[in-house]
């Protein structure tokens, strides 16, 4: 599979603590193994704590690009949280953007305290659908909780990403990469999480 654009710009976004950085690293490694030049910019440290986080991935056959994607130039958004997904589209979306969405909301402390409100979830999802060329949406956190740990949701999303066939990645390359970069004791469960993500797309 060839890139539909060069550079192809991916944003993985969500809330601090959702495993954003690890997801971008695994995706970057998979695409590197496919021979591409990758540039990733990401959020770390205090800026992560409970706040919005984003990783920007530029995939190119040519060379490195700036670690931040220019506004209105995201080709694919992997949103780990719906409201964060919509916020990212506000800056980086355009008519051609595709969105892979985890539909499980995480309420900010402003929403919890009642100082702000979280709109009806179906409304948020409908807006994202309207603002994207194509959207795939499912509750990855629910599947992760079924598996016993909400932290699997980022791996489930990567499994889903491989199934929507937008980027040249598959199960085989995922297996190869996690064997290299993740602790082996979690191997089976990570593969299972990846497969659950693939299934979730097939069931849409």
């Amino acid at each position: 599979m060839l890139l539909s654009k060069d550079p192809f710009n991916v944003i993985i976004g969500g809330v601090g603590g959702q495993g954003n950085v690890l997801a971008s690293k695994i995706l970057g490694e998979m695409l590197l193994a496919r021979g591409y030049v990758i540039t990733i910019g990401e959020t770390y440290g205090a800026s992560q704590r409970g706040g919005s986080v984003m990783s920007h991935l530029r995939v190119s056959a040519k060379g490195p690009f700036s670690p931040l994607i220019p506004e209105g130039k995201a080709d694919l958004l992997i949103a780990l949280e719906p409201a964060e997904g919509l916020r990212i589209l506000d800056v980086y979306g355009y008519g051609g953007v595709m969105v892979l969405l985890n539909t499980r909301p995480i309420h900010s402390i402003d929403v919890i305290s009642g100082d702000a409100s979280y709109p009806e979830l179906s409304w948020v999802i409908a807006r994202i659908r309207e603002l994207s060329r194509k959207m795939w949406a499912f509750n990855a956190t629910e599947i992760a909780l079924e598996m016993g740990n909400p932290l699997f949701s980022n791996i489930i999303m990567l499994g889903a990403l491989s199934a929507i066939e937008v980027l040249p990645i598959d199960r085989e390359i995922f297996e190869q990469v996690i064997k290299e970069i993740l602790p082996s004791k979690m191997f089976e469960e990570n593969m299972k999480a990846f497969d659950r993500g693939r299934e979730a797309i097939r069931e849409l």
Partner: protein, 636 residues
């Protein structure tokens, strides 16, 4: 095996900028690496620590940046190669030693990597460290991308040895905390024998003679930089506009030229050896154009240096126009991004550009308005600091004398915001909370009636609070210091410190007991678990009202993320819907409206509190706070 340690010349791997810097040091045969963690620099030494045994290195987390630089410099003075890494604030701490070390010079290659945090995303300040190169007459290199981060670090060791001077490598967030393809070179296996030459003492004095030698070395550096491959020009022979850029500005500049289709009109002059400027190279480049735009983070450092050089040579060069931060072409604070660079160029060349259709922009803005304000930062679910600040708030309210909290650097700095109930009232440098408390604690004689409280993290305590505490006892100050001991340097990635019993490499270390240390400094010390919220608040109140002098309360509870990594859960938490009376309770939704832990959400349909099982870490603090006992904490 970590890709950083692979001896596979030619192999292309994906490395974070900080890992590329670590790899560059390994390819240069570094032997001693030391740092105090600080974002965005932390992963440099973190990466090397994990490889220390395999690669035969000494790698340490030092107690602060000055000591770290002294440790790395000792290696250099014994003929080995040493690396020291820090964030911008760290260089301020290390600068006293650095500005004497430049006079004595060094032996084995000594490289100081300083990673600046433009916009202060993970810092208390925004600062451009490059000024230290000028201040200390030291060579300065700035990598523009990942591959260069590795190459420059490796070359910096050679340069340091040739000049017998420490060399600064300056990175920024978007170099250090970005990832990209890096092609590896060979890893040498060197076994140099360290020896300190007693016949060559390293004395900063006589200062003036050494200052003169330093200037000679810097002139040599300038000559060497004239031929450096880190400086380059890409673009038309005589561009309408020449961008002069360094560091992170380089990729933004290339992207702008490409994106705005300006290859025929705009050239990019990249300077990698930023100080001393390669003057001949820059002067030759200045002849190509009449119009220049500087793209750099954070201050107009390159900009002012080039303009100074131009002023010296303006008679030969003729009239030129310079655009940059000095005259407001670009914002003079904050981080760069592609848009800032695009719009600066568009304004100068009158280029049309629209990032997306206006119609899309309008639709998405309208939708996002409904989402309300951006997500505020907060303590993680189960964070002991939330409980600590709750106890502080409770105790200060009960005390009623308008006591206030002097803050310090760490995750607990978020105590200034809603997550810490706005309790923290000052924020400056590492250890400054305790130092300020030492001063505020002297003001009673002038009529200050408010109780003085300082907070300080465990790692910060060893870094810079101990001298302040000694000062306080010696001079008879009067305050309460709260040591928030969460058993790690949590904000920067859980690095160990002298209180944890572990070294950077994971080896066992002796523990410097924080309580005993405080007692040596004359303090009355007590220890509590902040999760025992009521007891903690009562203890704070007691120490405020019943004791005088320097009092220390250690609030000891491991960081929730560390506990979470071991997947240990001691409780199961549930909200009993029968007992939670919601808005009609009279508690004013204490758990959600006031305590605000992200693990406890407000069910907008049932109008009651509910545990979010994807977030809750089951610390159980909320169960102690609910006045209706509606939150059940069951041991598992």
């Amino acid at each position: 095996m970590s890709s950083v340690a692979q001896n596979a010349p030619g192999k292309v791997v994906l490395l974070m900028g900080n890992e590329a810097i670590a790899r560059g040091a390994l390819e240069a045969g570094v032997k001693v690496c030391a740092a105090y963690p600080g974002n965005p620099s932390s992963e440099i030494i973190g990466t090397l620590a994990a490889l220390a045994e395999e690669m035969g290195l000494h790698v340490e987390w030092s107690v602060n940046e000055k000591v770290a630089l002294e440790v790395a410099a000792a290696a250099s003075l014994a003929g080995l190669r040493g690396l020291c890494a820090m964030k911008q604030n760290g260089l301020n701490v290390a600068s006293d030693f650095l500005l004497n070390l430049n006079l004595t010079g060094c032996g084995g290659g000594l490289v100081i990597v300083v990673a600046d945090d433009p916009a202060g995303v993970s810092s208390s300040n925004e600062e451009d460290s490059r000024i230290f190169a000028k201040l200390g007459d030291l060579p300065l290199l700035e990598p523009g991308h990942f591959q260069e981060a590795k190459e420059m670090t490796r070359m910096a060791f050679d340069l340091s040895e040739q000049l017998e001077l420490p060399v600064l490598v300056r990175s920024v967030t978007r170099v250090s905390h970005a990832r990209g393809n890096v092609s590896l070179d060979e890893l040498p296996r060197t076994h140099p024998k360290p020896k300190f030459e007693t016949s060559r003492p390293r004395l900063a004095l006589p200062a003036m003679a050494n200052h003169r030698i330093l200037h000679q070395k810097l002139r040599r550096a300038k000559e060497m930089f004239e031929e450096s491959s880190f400086n380059s020009y890409q673009g038309p022979d005589q561009p309408e506009l020449m961008i002069i850029t360094s560091g992170s500005g380089y990729l933004y500049s290339l992207e702008a030229v490409d994106h705005l289709h300006l290859q025929e009109r705009v050239g990019v002059l990249k300077i990698g050896t930023t100080w001393p400027l390669p003057e001949e190279f820059v002067l030759r480049s200045l002849k190509r154009s009449e119009c220049f735009l500087f793209i750099e983070e954070v201050d107009p450092f390159l900009e002012n240096n080039v303009k100074e050089l131009f002023a010296q040579n303006c008679f030969d060069l003729g009239a030129k126009r310079f655009f940059g931060k000095a005259i407001g072409t670009l914002p003079d604070v904050g981080e760069l991004n592609p848009e800032i660079v695009f719009s600066a160029i568009r304004a100068l060349l009158s280029v049309e550009y629209q990032s997306r259709s206006e119609e899309y922009g309008e639709r998405v803005h309208k939708a996002v308005k409904e989402l309300g304000p951006a997500r505020p930062l907060s303590f993680c679910p189960g964070c002991p600091h939330r409980a600590t600040y709750w106890a502080i708030k409770t105790a200060l309210a009960m005390d009623g004398r308008e006591g206030f909290v002097l803050g310090d650097i760490g995750c607990y700095s978020l105590g200034m915001g809603p997550s810490g109930f706005g309790q923290m009232k000052t924020l400056h440098a590492m250890g400054s909370g305790t130092g300020l408390a030492s001063g505020f604690g002297q003001l009673e004689r002038f009529g200050l009636q408010q109780p003085v409280v300082a907070v300080c993290g465990d790692s910060t305590f060893y870094h810079a609070a101990m001298p302040a505490l000694a000062n306080a006892y010696y001079n008879g100050s009067n305050f309460l210091l709260l040591l928030l001991d969460n058993r790690a340097t949590a904000m920067t990635g859980f690095q160990p410190h002298p209180g944890t019993g572990t070294k950077a490499t994971g080896e066992e270390a002796p523990i410097i007991d924080m309580k005993a240390a405080c007692e040596v400094f004359g303090a009355h010390v007590e220890v509590v678990d902040p999760f025992e919220v009521k007891r903690t608040a009562e203890t704070i109140l007691k120490l405020l009202e019943e004791k005088r002098g320097v009092r220390v309360l250690i609030l000891r509870r491991e960081c929730a993320l560390l506990t979470g990594r071991r997947q240990e859960r001691t409780f199961r938490i549930e909200v009993d819907p029968e007992r939670c009376l919601g808005e009609s309770c009279g508690c004013n939704r204490l758990c959600t409206r006031v305590f605000k832990c992200p693990g406890l959400v407000w069910d907008q349909v049932a109008l009651k509190a509910r545990v979010d099982e994807a977030i809750c870490t089951a610390c159980g603090v909320c169960a102690d706070i609910c006045p209706a006992s509606a939150i059940r904490k069951e041991a598992v």
